[in-house]
Amino acid sequence: MSSLVDVFTYITIATGAFFFLAGTVGLLRFPDTLTRLHALTKADNLGLGLIVLGLLPQVDGVMNGLKLIAIWLLVLLSGADAGQLIARAARRTMRRAAPHREGPAGAAGSRSSAMEPTAKAGGQP
Amino acid sequence: MNGAMLFGLVAAALVGVGLYGLIVNPQPLRKILAFNVIGSGVFLLFGVIARRGAAAGLGGDPVPQALLITGIVVAFSATAIAVTVLLRLFEETGTTTLASAVPPPAAGPGPGQDQAGE
């Protein structure tokens, strides 16, 4: 019985560690700030979630288990929000760096105008 | 115990690194940072000494550990004061230079302009 639980722990923690690897690979390989931020906030938070899941059967006491879950939820909440805020700051910086690219078509221009309505819509929940 | 020794050596190196930064960095904020690096090196050394004193079922000597907590809080309040003094100096003069020949406040970008962005 307990060995079955241990197998569960091995598998989930190994998977969680894999997502940390994926996040770091994304950080190294992705071309710009926004995609790198995406890799970091998504993959690492999932990795942490899996590690927490794997550790749950190993901790003693319900209280410690609840605290582990609370840690993951807090990291998710603040990670998602901080990621969102950093992304907005980065976008403002990019726009300020290249204001003339905003209007006409072109690789950079079309990308930033495509992002415009999405971000606006997300801004007013 | 070997691991604690490694932290001791890192602590000694941090004191050296911080001292170097304190001398060569002209920006006062960098000096405050460097001072904090020295401080944390000293704290780490203290932590190693506490760890070496593990006895009576405790993971470390609680007396130096308690002093460390006091030290961290006091270091924070000193940092807060230093940073506030620096920001006020910048607001009043528009510069943070520590050189003795301070340029007159009128020269350079005025402080009002920088504060407007707030």
Binding site: A14, T24, L55, Q58, V75, G79, A89, R96 | -
Partner: protein, 91 residues
């Protein structure tokens, strides 16, 4: 089990270290601010794994505090940074 948990903690720490090297190189401030995020998730994961390996239950409380406050520097960054255009300070 203990060795496995330690190995996992070391692996996550290594990933954090590699990520830190990348993130601190910039080019912009926003990239650098990711360092705090990186340690927010990776550092907490390593702490929890190490704490479970050594059976130190109080580590959970340290992680809880870190989880609560890890976003603080990022929030300060967004609130105060003047968004330097392309970071002309770097070549």
């Amino acid at each position: 089990m203990t060795d496995f948990l330690f190995a996992a903690a070391g692996f996550v720490l290594a990933m954090v270290a590699v990520g830190l090297v990348r993130v601190l190189r910039g080019p912009g401030d926003a990239d650098r601010m990711m360092a705090a995020q990186l340690l927010g998730s990776g550092g907490i994961a390593a702490l929890l794994l190490g704490g479970a390996a050594t059976g130190n239950g109080s580590v959970v409380d340290v992680s809880l505090t870190l989880a609560l406050l890890a976003a603080f520097a990022s929030i300060a960054f967004v609130k105060f940074a003047p968004f330097s255009a392309d970071d002309s300070s770097e070549s």
